[in-house]
Symmetry: C2
Subunit: 263 residues, 2 copies
DNA sequence: TAGTGGTCTAGACCACGTG
DNA sequence: ACGTGGTCTAGACCACTAC
């Protein structure tokens, strides 16, 4: 056949180090996703169509999609199409919820049937960002924020106290009603109502003596040792979305994390 | 050209659901790796050679290798070859060490320059497994185990107390000398001296009041709140390798974990 | 039957590391 | 100059889902 390929010729990065074509395609796809169309049940254009539109081979297009699928940004369904990954299923829920009862060492491997927590909103207010919140969310101190307080129960026992902080500029018109009536997780709410996709989160945990207010919520003695987790949730471009301080009663539950070479 | 491919024809799984060829190849590669040759600086056979030997196309071979690379089991080095992932470099170290100073919120993104802990062995003994150890390591209570105690310091301050338990059957002829003189991490030692590759670990964390002995090692008041982490390290086939209880002084350091859709 | 993603092949050329 | 992995292409066929 003797056909010359011209990799890096169709779409080189002028002057720069010329990112591989499939990386450029990946970025292109990310833009499409971030634009927000294709949110609800609608599949992306077919691989053949995308490859044609971008004037690349289907193999290269698939390489780009492969990476996004591996990052759980897209999901493929054979015979149906490729979709942006939904935030509403149980599987995703437990990407960000890592509390487990301490019992049942029957099966060692991970999540077989994790329990869904029962969430109750016990506070909702609009206020000005303090220093810590502003630094975390990368806004100016004093800018308006929403503060939401939740308690989470497993088997009727309150195990976690959550304090969420959201930038009011990012979450315009957020109301307590929407928070209380949300269908599933808050991250699904961010996506459906505000087009914000949480991609990653970093958590920093420390042991502290429970404060009076939180101790009452968790039904532990005053100054009892609890774990305090500071979480920052991020979207595309590592932009901060939510700052959250969780306090966990670890008398009967563990804060679980899986360290893997596959991380 | 009009050449018919015969996918699933060269190497179908008789009777069964016929795993894709590249998955079969992946297993083949895993066997090669587990066999233990290719441990020290020696590259695997080249992709072209492997594809030829297995009578498959190079694309399929690469697909299999891609997955193992993504799982950090193999690493590729352009111009040199493909190697089994070493356990001795800094990058890997921090796959399993997630303690960070609480300061410096300068750069939000992860590990730019994490500090290497200074490790000191403060105990080494051969004993019989108690109930908890036996259950974790999946051996019988009373079977011989090694117990090792370490303390880890960051910036000259002791931050972590570790208590490791290893099955003596799995680690024959382990000596205190080898542990003290180890070049880098213990997981590198497991690999070089015993051919055991740690692939994953699960950690369960809880807040507790520090016991007297540990409190002294960590220089915290008696009954001070600390985090206790129970780790089980696993190798191929999810076989338990090491059971470890770490106690962390979180006065100035955090126990960090990154939750990601890319998990 | 038609359209989608999933697998596999064969081969060209590029970029890196070593001699 | 040579061998290694890295990228890209073009096309065939399979498996699933819809209509």
């Amino acid at each position: 056949m003797e056909i010359k390929n011209k990799p890096g010729h169709l779409k080189p990065l002028a002057g720069a180090a010329s990112l591989p074509l499939y990386r450029q395609v990946k970025r292109e796809l990310q833009k499409i996703i971030e634009a927000g169309h294709y949110g609800s049940g609608k599949p992306l254009p077919s691989e053949a169509a995308l490859a044609l539109a971008l004037q690349i081979s289907i193999g290269t297009l698939r390489h780009a999609v492969d990476e996004l699928v591996h990052e759980h940004v897209l999901v493929r369904r054979q015979g149906k199409g490729t979709f942006v990954a939904p935030h509403n299923n149980a599987r995703f829920m437990f990407q960000f919820f890592h509390i487990e009862p301490r019992s049942a060492p029957e099966d060692d491997d991970t999540l077989l049937e994790q329990e869904f927590p029962e969430i109750a909103c016990i506070g909702f207010a609009r206020d000005k960002a303090d220093a810590a919140e502003a630094r975390a969310l990368r806004i100016k101190p004093g800018e308006p924020v929403f503060r939401i307080e939740n308690k989470l129960a497993l088997r009727r026992r309150v195990v976690v106290h959550d304090k969420l902080t959201l930038s009011a500029a990012m979450f315009r018109n957020l109301t307590e009603k929407r928070f209380v009536e949300r269908p599933s997780t808050v991250y699904a709410l961010y996506q459906t109502d505000f087009g914000i996709t949480v991609l990653r989160a970093q958590e920093r945990a420390r042991a502290v003596a429970a404060g009076k207010a939180v101790a009452r919520v968790l039904s532990v003695p005053d100054a009892f040792p609890v774990i305090e987790v500071h979480r920052l949730a991020l979207t595309f471009g590592d932009k901060p979305v939510e700052y959250r301080v969780s306090t966990i009663n670890t008398q009967a539950h563990d804060y679980v994390s899986v360290l893997s070479k596959t991380s």
